[in-house]
């Protein structure tokens, strides 16, 4: 029997909805792929045709939120924003969209987004990282003076590390309204923006050629 493209999209959607519900009800660790399949009324085997595992499923959910955060960010940019401020609202909007997933975001950051996980052969997380960094890079370029050096790979890696740190911190932040995360973001982005002034190109190994 041929499965139409439309049916495929619908099934994928059903799985995502089911996973979303269970993750927020029972937590990421407390949910099995079997539970999700049952909730979505499909066979567990079918689920694996769509997602290799629970982690990728979570990542896909987060990716959807980040996608809508991204389009909101593009329309919400204000004039005369400093780079620091633009980067701040970029992250802030993401956090607003990720709020429903805060309970299990920490697990996802740890398992799939971690910088220690670069060897992972699935490219969903690589895509997510690339898309995020592309926006950051264009913000930096938008605020650059002709004299500023191109942000190096090292710089972008620094950014990504800070960003994941913020996500991980936020996921576990017990302070009122997660205000401590705001302070962390403020400090992290000041640090990052001030490091842009330092010419990190000299640190790049391939520059010696």
């Amino acid at each position: 029997m041929r499965i139409t493209a439309k049916a495929k999209i619908e099934t994928r959607q059903r799985i995502l909805v089911a996973a979303r519900k269970l993750f927020s009800d029972k937590g990421f660790a407390g949910t099995t792929t079997r539970d999700i399949a049952v909730e979505a009324s499909i066979a567990t085997g079918t689920l694996f045709n769509y997602f290799p595992g629970k982690e990728q499923l979570a990542l896909a959910i987060i990716d959807i939120s980040l996608e809508s955060a991204h389009s909101e960010f593009l329309t919400s940019q204000r004039e005369n924003e400093s780079l620091e401020e633009a980067l701040f609202s970029h992250i802030a909007i993401m956090l607003r969209h990720l709020r429903p997933h805060r309970g299990y975001l920490g697990d996802v950051v740890e398992t799939t987004l971690s910088p220690f996980n670069q060897s992972s052969d699935d490219d969903a997380s690589a895509n997510l990282r690339a898309r995020h960094l592309e926006t950051v890079q264009s913000l930096i370029e938008g605020h650059a003076t002709p004299a500023s050096p191109q942000p190096s790979a090292v710089i972008m890696h620094l950014y990504w590390t800070l960003f994941l740190g913020v996500l991980a911190y936020w996921a576990k932040d017990e302070s009122p309204n997660q205000e401590d995360t705001l302070v962390l973001m403020d400090h992290a982005l000041r640090l990052f923006v001030s490091s842009l002034d330092i010419n990190l190109n000299t640190l790049e190994p391939n520059r010696s050629s």
């Binding site: 400093s82 633009a86 701040f88 309204n177 997660q178 705001l182 302070v183």
Partner: protein, 474 residues
């Protein structure tokens, strides 16, 4: 006389014998290294504001004040004290926010010694906690967390740039949604109040083991008092409560106004209130106001302070020029009720008794001073302490007792008051009821403003009118 941290540190009374010199120097070194901390990034300057003049003065005052506790004791105890004090200052170096708080303490103590009136007023006007500034993106998230909506949704014309800095954050202008009412919104930097509370806990823990003089308990009680006051300032709901109470104390025709609070747009960390579009004292003075206008404002300043005290049973703890607005229509605007001390009954009675004493006899005045200072010891310094205490009290009461207008523009009067206070501090006659710390601050603060304003007013008459409200003459 100009005052800077170095001079102040040098002027600190040194009570140690020669052998103490090395630790004395190392403390000075520690202090001056604190004030020279490198500043990595310009925006961070505000968090590491130690380089600033205010911070240096404040820290020096703080050191001065803590040190005033060192009098005697055996070598072992002295060494222990030095160690604890050093630990406390090291700790201080690591507390970005508390430095701000210490500046507030500096502000309190700065309302007293050795400073010429003019400079005193200027420095005091500039002293602030220095919270890091917030850009709009940060502010928006914080407001959203507190009030569940973005500032643009809550207000019309929310100005994304702050128009004034506050001790713990910043102040923005906006208009109430769909209304014509301009408001000032004071917004704290996220988590600053929790940080300050933590810092205080640590600082108290560090100073607690110190055993200094026979007066140490008293100094510590005063320190606790200041900590409590600063802690209170971190809670804008408390400030809103004070504003509401103060507003009720004035009628429309009196021309003294207090901002209205909008509670549905306020939290512990955000305070929305009506905006005063007036001039600060210095701006007002540049308009070359007539003597009559100066006097009119002077009377309002005095009346407001007595009204708040006698009827409101509150002490306006922060009477520095930045908190008074000179409105174009002649009204006086009072802002900033974050630092308000509420009198308890015993304190009201105490103040009554001082007044009664002045109405009764010199003997009664002496007795009142003994009560005020808890002077129970019988040692030799007692006579001198008494003499100074009387001088101080007489100075405070002089404008009340004078018949007719009192000319605050007369520099001699204020300078004399400062000299008396300096002597009290130098001789370490600082033992006093905690309430007196605030009364003193209030007295000097208001008289400094009156001096700067050049007001010549019937102070005693206003006093009697206001005092009579609560206690009919017996």
């Amino acid at each position: 006389m100009s005052l800077n941290a170095k001079e102040l540190i040098e002027a600190m009374p040194i009570n140690f014998d020669e052998t103490q010199d090395t630790s004395q120097q190392s403390l000075d070194k520690l202090l001056s290294s604190l004030s020279k901390m490198p500043v990595p990034v310009s925006r961070l300057t505000r968090m590491w504001a130690l380089g600033s003049m205010q911070a240096k003065v404040a820290i020096a005052y703080f050191a001065y004040w803590m040190r005033s506790g060192f009098v005697s004791g055996d070598d072992k105890q002295r060494l222990l004290n030095e160690t604890h004090l050093k630990a406390a200052f090291k700790l201080l170096g690591g507390m970005s926010y508390l430095r701000g708080a210490i500046m507030k303490v500096g502000q309190v103590i700065a309302s007293t010694p050795n400073v010429a009136p003019q400079e005193f007023v200027e420095v005091l006007g500039r002293l602030q906690f220095e919270a890091p500034s917030m850009h709009f993106s940060l502010l928006r998230e914080f407001v959203h967390g507190e009030l569940h909506h973005d500032p643009e949704e809550l207000f019309d014309d929310f100005e994304t740039t702050a128009f004034a800095a506050a001790s713990l954050g910043q102040v923005h202008r906006a208009t109430l949604k769909g209304l014509d009412e301009k408001v000032a919104i004071k917004i704290q930097y996220p988590n600053i109040s929790r940080t300050i509370h933590e810092d205080f806990k640590n600082l108290k823990a560090a100073t607690f083991p110190m055993r200094l003089t026979r007066d140490w308990d008293n100094i510590q009680a005063q320190f606790e008092e200041i900590c409590d006051m600063l802690g209170q300032e971190t809670d804008y709901e408390q400030e809103a409560e004070n504003l509401r109470a103060a507003r009720l104390l004035f009628t429309e025709d009196e021309g003294i106004i207090v901002p209205q609070v909008y509670p549905e747009l306020s939290t512990k960390r955000i305070l929305t209130m009506s905006y005063f579009d007036g001039l600060h004292l210095d701006e007002f003075l540049t308009t070359n106001p007539s003597q009559a206008l100066r006097d009119e404002f002077g009377r309002k300043i005095v009346r407001s302070s007595f009204r708040i005290g006698f009827r409101g049973k509150m002490l306006y703890g922060d009477p520095h020029p930045g908190n008074y607005y000179f409105m174009p229509d002649g009204r006086l605007g009072l802002i900033d009720f974050g630092c308000c001390r509420h009198y308890n009954d015993a304190e009201m009675d105490y103040m009554d008794s001082v007044e009664q004493a002045y109405l009764t006899s010199r003997e009664a005045v002496y007795e009142a001073i003994i009560r005020a200072t808890d002077l129970t010891s019988t040692d030799a310094s007692r006579q001198d302490h008494m003499r100074l205490g009387v001088e101080y009290a007489d100075w405070v009461w002089e404008p009340v007792q004078q018949d007719g207008p009192f000319d605050f523009a007369n520099q001699e009067y204020f300078t004399r008051g400062v000299a008396i206070f300096s002597e009290l501090i130098k001789k370490r006659y600082t033992r006093s009821k905690p309430i007196n710390t605030w009364l003193t601050r209030n007295v000097y603060g208001i008289r400094a403003i009156l001096a700067r304003l050049g007001a010549c007013i019937d102070f005693g008459e206003i006093y009697r009118e206001e005092a009579r409200v609560t206690k009919p003459k017996k």
